[in-house]
């Protein structure tokens, strides 16, 4: 299905089985063997965390920068770029409500 390819995936590449993950409750298409970060980028979702209105997304994509921390399977602070997808995996955008010292 061409729609599932998203706008960043190359064609003519052998992929795993098509599946869906859930990002903030919305279905996002993915293929087995991809990372959560790949699925998000291909779907055009660029925000992994929102800090007091400022968004952060996949930056280094190799597990170093911790810019893509998300809440995955109920665990906060997990790197989307290092987490493989699985059918029905629940992913949530990580929100830090306010920046700055506690009043």
């Amino acid at each position: 299905m061409k729609e599932d390819m998203g706008f960043l995936r190359l064609e003519n590449v052998q992929r795993g089985e098509a599946l869906q993950i859930e990002v903030d409750g919305c279905p996002v298409a993915a293929f087995a063997g991809e990372t959560v970060a790949t699925a998000l980028l291909s779907a055009g979702v660029f925000s992994c965390q929102i800090h007091d209105g400022r968004t952060m997304g996949v930056f280094c994509n190799i597990g170093q920068c911790c810019s893509c921390l998300m809440t995955i399977d109920g665990v906060s602070g997990v790197r989307a770029c290092q987490t493989p997808v699985s059918p029905g995996l629940k992913v949530a955008i990580r929100r830090v409500e306010k920046r700055g010292p506690r009043p």
Binding site: Q49, H51, S76, G77, R102
Partner: protein, 385 residues
């Protein structure tokens, strides 16, 4: 050696950490031509790897007046540097988990208050009111609280100071490792670096741990030891902590971006290196979550280590180098250099230009660790170089 270019200046500052940067900045603002040389990049070592605490309480009696004056200077830095350095005075809070520490701190608080510091002894209830993230089931005898202590972002300060140095006309030499100092007739006459020869009549050795090596090239045994202190950084969280918190197992603060910075006591080292140590992770894992339960479910996203330079009595050596007129040393801050940077810059610029600093520095004399002598033999050898 002859292919090195010669640079003339009034004063050479060795070391581009917080101490050296402030000394260089204040000297240049007094109209001197100043060169600042660092073996690497500015703020790369302990200053940029600091816990970021700007704290006055539980300091040595002799050091407290300097810390208080430094905090007064910190309050004007954001405006002067015209850049955000994330300095805020959220207070510092020390927890007492034993009766013994609580009793000892009663005496300490009295002494500090007599010296003019605003610091309060807190009951367990007052500590809990201030720190809702504290575990409910731990033994707690109270705490001490200084409302005008605070924290700053070491990396932003390094950047802001670099800009200020350039604006003030300081000639910044990065990747310039000073190999040796030169003298003539018991006076400093210059220094040989890895890229340049400096001709100057004044210099200050503010090279942190490497200050010892530089003193060694002149034949001195500089009485300091080294510790490696590691800081663990968590994922960013919504604001949970305002104060700089210290307790018997370490310290923590929350950065403006929301990350918690967790520090444990430094590990003694001999070789100067900053590789990460697994024991810091083990210490934090073993001792922090029982006091701050929220940490049990928080990810550590990075860690870094820096080298602190210690004297036997835990306060720095801030002195003229005996026998070599025109040479000063400022090192051995024992983990307190970040707070003291602004005041040391002020005092050294006064000392080096007018002959005396505006505060009493006698407690920081090198000679408190025994007689310091530059023998005639060493003097002749140095002159002959």
């Amino acid at each position: 050696m002859s292919d090195l270019q010669t640079v003339d200046c009034d004063a050479l500052v060795i070391g581009g950490g917080i101490t050296g940067c402030f000394i260089a900045l204040r000297l240049a603002q007094k109209g001197l031509k100043v060169c600042l040389a660092d073996k690497g990049a500015l703020f790369r070592e302990a200053s940029g790897r600091s816990g970021g605490g700007v704290r006055q309480q539980f300091r040595n009696k002799a050091e407290l007046p300097l810390a208080m004056e430094s905090v007064r200077l910190w309050q004007g830095l954001t405006e002067e540097l015209d850049e955000d350095i994330e300095y805020y005075q959220g207070g510092s809070l020390r927890l007492h988990r034993t009766q013994q520490l609580h009793e000892e701190d009663k005496i300490r608080v009295e002494r500090e208050r007599a010296q003019g510091l605003e610091v309060h002894l807190l009951t367990p209830q007052q500590v809990r009111a201030r720190l809702p993230v504290l575990a409910e089931n731990i033994e707690l005898w109270g705490g001490t609280y200084c409302p005008i202590d605070g924290t700053a972002n070491p990396l932003l300060l390094g950047r802001a100071l670099t800009h200020a140095l350039l604006r003030a006309g300081v000639e910044v030499h990065r990747y310039e490792e000073i190999q040796t100092l030169e003298t003539a007739g018991g006076r400093l006459s210059g220094a040989v670096g890895s890229q340049h020869i400096f001709r100057c009549s004044m210099a200050v050795n503010a090279a942190g741990p490497w200050a010892r090596k530089i003193m060694q090239t002149m034949g001195f045994d500089f009485p300091v030891t080294f510790r490696k202190s590691q800081i663990l950084v968590t994922e960013p969280l919504s604001p949970v902590i305002r104060e700089f918190i210290s307790f018997d197992k370490g310290y923590l603060r929350q950065a403006t971006d929301g990350n918690l910075h967790l520090g444990v006591r430094g590990i003694p080292i001999v070789e100067l290196e900053t590789r990460q140590t697994i024991s810091s992770f083990e210490d934090v894992g073993a001792h922090f979550p029982e006091v701050f339960p929220l940490l049990a479910n928080v990810q550590i996203i990075r860690a870094f280590a820096g080298i602190t330079t210690w004297t036997a009595d835990g306060i720095p050596i801030l002195d003229e180098v005996p026998g070599i007129a025109g040479l000063w040393v400022a090192s051995g801050f024992s983990g307190h250099g970040f707070c003291l940077g602004p005041v040391v810059g002020k005092l050294f610029s006064e000392w080096m230009t007018s002959g005396r600093p505006s505060m009493d520095m006698s407690a920081f004399a090198w000679s408190r660790f025994g007689k310091v002598e530059w023998s005639n033999q060493l003097r002749k050898a140095a002159d002959a170089r």
